[in-house]
Symmetry: C3
Subunit: 441 residues, 3 copies
């Protein structure tokens, strides 16, 4: 299987537009960690890939946590003394602090002020705030909006419910030849924020679609979960099976114009860490490898010490490091079709490494085999060998049953795809054979 090669046959611009369109379809929905917003989102993902939805009742203990009440919202506003909606949920779902308890009251501005959140440095942007685990309410608005408020009594209304219900997440499982799994996880709980994380949802959905129906080495499990509590719930409900996860990626903030960042798993040298670093080194956009840290997205949970799964996190701009993060400026213009397509491409390249990374044995290990007579070498002596021949020589030299193709790619500095091609060609020529990999199944 050569995912990248096949993907590169398609039109990247068209794929990018499709990805962006899917993000745009999901954008208006008011998601939260529970409720109908995430249900609708999962339903739209389920239109594209086989998705199973799981619901966990409020109050269910999941490790150290308890599934919270379910939150839903219909409308919210602040009305000025004259009756005009000066802050309006229908304009942007960011205007309501996510998980706000219901309220309906008329209050002087001075009493409302402590519940208003703005970003003075970016006076036109609306911040994104949440109050998941303590009951509270509030509004978010642009700083200019707030400055324009005159003293007086305002009618505030949040038409929400916070009641016993369910926590919802979605799983797409694609069976491969082995029951060992590759996990792709992304959080699906943020409302109208595009990079964080409609970008991840869109890329993961398209990736699952792209893998679907193929003959795969690994089984693939795509998780669309509310951040933190969703990953925790999944791990609590799949504790025994988590050991099957051989490699994993959290996808987030993957559609903006920035270069790539890959944050390593807690292990720091897992195959996924090496595969991602290798792929990023050999593609054209700028990229940086970050050490593991115990904050960020759901890799926090997958990499908690009791699990210590080999799960890294692929991003473009790093959460918290760009000003648009968690504001209304993380909108559909902030994510770009070509960047979304590029992210899908990098994911495919990483999976190509995982799918094809094997150890081989040189069947002619004493001295070099005579490549020339097999038309595997240049015909006239004296030239520096090109990349192809070089890849063949590296594969032959290091295929002692101990080095994987990724080891060889790393040591030689040659892209994995060229190493993999060389290995397959050498197999066809009877010079190489796969070493059965017991552990990988």
């Amino acid at each position: 299987m050569a995912l990248l090669k096949e993907l590169d046959l398609r039109d990247a611009a068209a794929i990018g537009e499709e990805l962006h369109r899917f993000a745009a379809d999901l954008y208006p929905i008011c998601r939260s960690i529970t409720g109908n917003g995430i249900r609708r989102t999962l339903a739209m993902i389920g239109d594209r890939i086989p998705l199973q939805t799981f619901e966990t009742p409020t109050g269910t203990p999941v490790f150290d946590w308890i599934v919270p009440k379910e939150w839903n919202i219909r409308d919210a506003f602040i009305k000025a003394p004259g009756g005009k909606r000066v802050v309006d949920f229908r304009q942007s779902n960011l205007h309501v602090m996510n998980y706000s308890t219901p309220v309906h009251a008329t209050l002087p501005l001075s009493e409302i002020r402590p519940r208003l959140f703005t970003i003075p440095e970016h006076p036109d942007w609306i911040p994104y705030r949440t109050a998941y685990y303590k009951e509270d309410w509030g509004f978010c608005l642009s700083h200019n909006q707030m400055l324009a408020l005159e003293d007086g009594d305002y009618e505030v209304s949040i038409d929400s419910t916070l009641e016993d219900g369910r926590l919802t997440y979605g799983e797409c499982y694609l069976a491969g030849r082995s029951s060992d799994e590759v996990l792709i996880s992304c959080h699906a709980c943020h409302p109208s924020l595009a990079n964080d994380n409609l970008s991840g949802l869109a890329v993961a959905t398209f990736l699952a679609q792209f893998l679907s129906g193929r003959d795969l080495r690994y089984s693939y499990r795509f998780l669309f979960v509310p951040g933190t509590i969703g990953a925790i719930a999944w791990l609590a409900q799949n504790r025994q099976n988590a050991g099957r996860i051989r490699h994993g990626l959290v996808l987030t903030c993957i559609g903006d114009a920035g270069g790539f960042h890959y944050k390593k798993s807690r292990r720091g040298n897992a195959e996924i860490d090496r595969a991602a670093a290798h792929v990023l080194r050999h593609q054209n956009e700028s990229s940086e490898i970050l050490e593991f840290s115990p904050y960020g997205y759901d890799e926090r949970q997958y990499c908690s010490p009791g699990f210590n799964l080999p799960v890294g996190c692929l991003m473009r701009s790093v959460w918290g490091s760009f000003p648009e993060y968690h504001t209304s400026a993380d909108n559909l213009a902030f994510i770009r079709p070509l960047q979304l397509a590029g992210s899908l491409r990098v994911c495919a390249a990483i999976l190509d490494v995982l799918e094809n990374n094997r150890r081989y044995g040189n069947l002619s290990p004493y001295c070099e085999p005579q490549l020339g007579r097999r038309n595997l070498y240049g015909s006239t002596g004296g030239e520096a060998p090109g990349l192809e021949i070089s890849a063949r020589l590296w594969v032959l030299n290091l295929s002692d049953g101990e080095h994987s193709l990724l080891d060889i790619a790393e040591r030689s500095g040659i892209p994995f795809s060229a190493i993999d091609n060389a290995a397959k060609l050498l197999c066809q020529n009877g010079l190489l054979a796969v070493v059965p990999d017991v552990a990988a199944g």
Copy 2:
């Protein structure tokens, strides 16, 4: 125990003045590797801390060495033809080559010249010279002094004794909960030289005073020994017990205006090496970590291959690298109160690491525990966690029974004290428990 925190409650300037005053009190004494100078020095240290003095007779074999004769001196001079003392021991004890045999003679200048030592590049400074292990005599003087000598007969007198006697060193032992020891060693044999090593004596004395009476994890052994032969004698007489030394520091040249230098133990990666490097990285003055080498101070003996103890050497300017080294310019003005206090502070910070460095186990290792409900997390989501929360997350993530707090501090880049605070807070909240450390006792 948080030594540094407590020390920082005191007035650093006042501590510095006190340290400098103690060095000033010790400065005039003519010390050597044996004799009454070191005895008086130890007595003055013994006024401040519980000090036991040990005396080893001349001729006693200590490993490959033999305890030398004891040297004492009352007076010495060179008198010009007119009778004037042109070189006078009463002006500076550096004027006599240390360990000079007695002499009284009148000699032409030409015969004295080969026994006169000066520093032409620093014509006002008196050099410091010794003749410990071969019987000899000589004078040290400033180059300008020597240039001023006119031809003629000079009376030279060294009123010294070099006779069977004893080698003296002092030990201060502070018992802790464990019989495992931390060794603090400094040489006490140099005459009127301030940085080398009244600085070390003063800081070590104050450190012992500061630790005295506390509930300590480790036992502490402070050694005030004549350089080389003293450390060798101690090791020869404590060969079996040397194995108890789990960590050690040689303190020398620790009062000048230079930045810190820590020279690693022979092991290169001992806990003391890592603790010192960590502390120096997280304090404000410049610092440099030096690889081990088998020359320098008494770490040479502690790190000899038969012992290979984890003992490093903490300095400010490195011996031999500053022009004042081993000259009369290494005087009381060359050492600074604030620098002495700063060195004491760094020692306390290093001991804090040693005292508190333990391995912990996360009692809730599957996914993150819910810090918010315990008021251990920020209350409103969406902000990058500050140092405190970050420290808690790191401690939880890496407390798998294998990582020590120092491991966690190193990997996270967070100061040990913040990591240690986090660990203690998490213990109080039932999220963490100490892993019993069999080896450390």
Copy 3:
């Protein structure tokens, strides 16, 4: 044995001239991978060192290869319509593509053109081309020569034979105290090319001569082989004994004005790799250490995975990286007497390390022994120890039976020769003893 010390007593300029003269004697011979050219070359080497010649018949399988037909050539030319030899083998043996099949014909220029090879960027140089493993013929000439050819019928003649015969290589074996071997290998198949590889042949020959008759720790095996097929034939015929090779060097392109390059063995951290890197670091010419790669010279075969021998490659300019490579400009002016002598010197220094690298045990491991009483230390205290004393202290400190002298030289940054001298002096003084090295024999 101190090879370098002894070599340095001789006149480097005279040695260089001798080396260059030997290369000049070998230069005119038209060598190839088989035939009388290499036979004559080996005979001339055999005039200087004890050389045994081995011949393997055409058709003999050697691992994946088959010994090819033997090639010989008497004359070759292209005659212009007027009868003038415009391309003439007697002017340069590079004019004929090496291994060209016999031909005699008169052909229009247009039919000859595809068989003419030139270097347009260097219009005065003749390229070097070969056609070893597919039957073909062709001519090499300068680009200017080719431009001067006018249309017309040309007589082409290659008076060669390509027939069943033998493959020839030479071995010089110098027995040492151990049957463990050091391999020195160089390819002897190139015609009139000086750096590649008359430089290697000359240096290897002189090195063998220099070692001959000495009391050696290791046995030495010098191989003068046709590139690739020769090394493969030797390995096929010495498969069992190859395991005796403890260290090895391929010598090539070792006479030009460039700095040194050492390419590591496949193992990457073999003793030869460390010895070569150490020696190059401590000599005066520029040098660079290159990672192993599976292309280059016969280290390809020695480092194939079935053998994985610790064989590196010592060069000056790297093959393929200088424009003169494989052209007529790689002539006797391109190699320099002083550079040839310098290469011999580096080889001797590397062998010095291998011959003398042992582990020692400190017989006085508890504290430092008293060097002063043995006149092994400076007599007046207080000075920074010089290199000699420093070397003694390092050897004493690290001679715990685990560190070899090369380990000590690497860690201390002191040249191996000074470390080795110190070890021998300390042995003479009863402070050190060799640790028997079972593995090294």
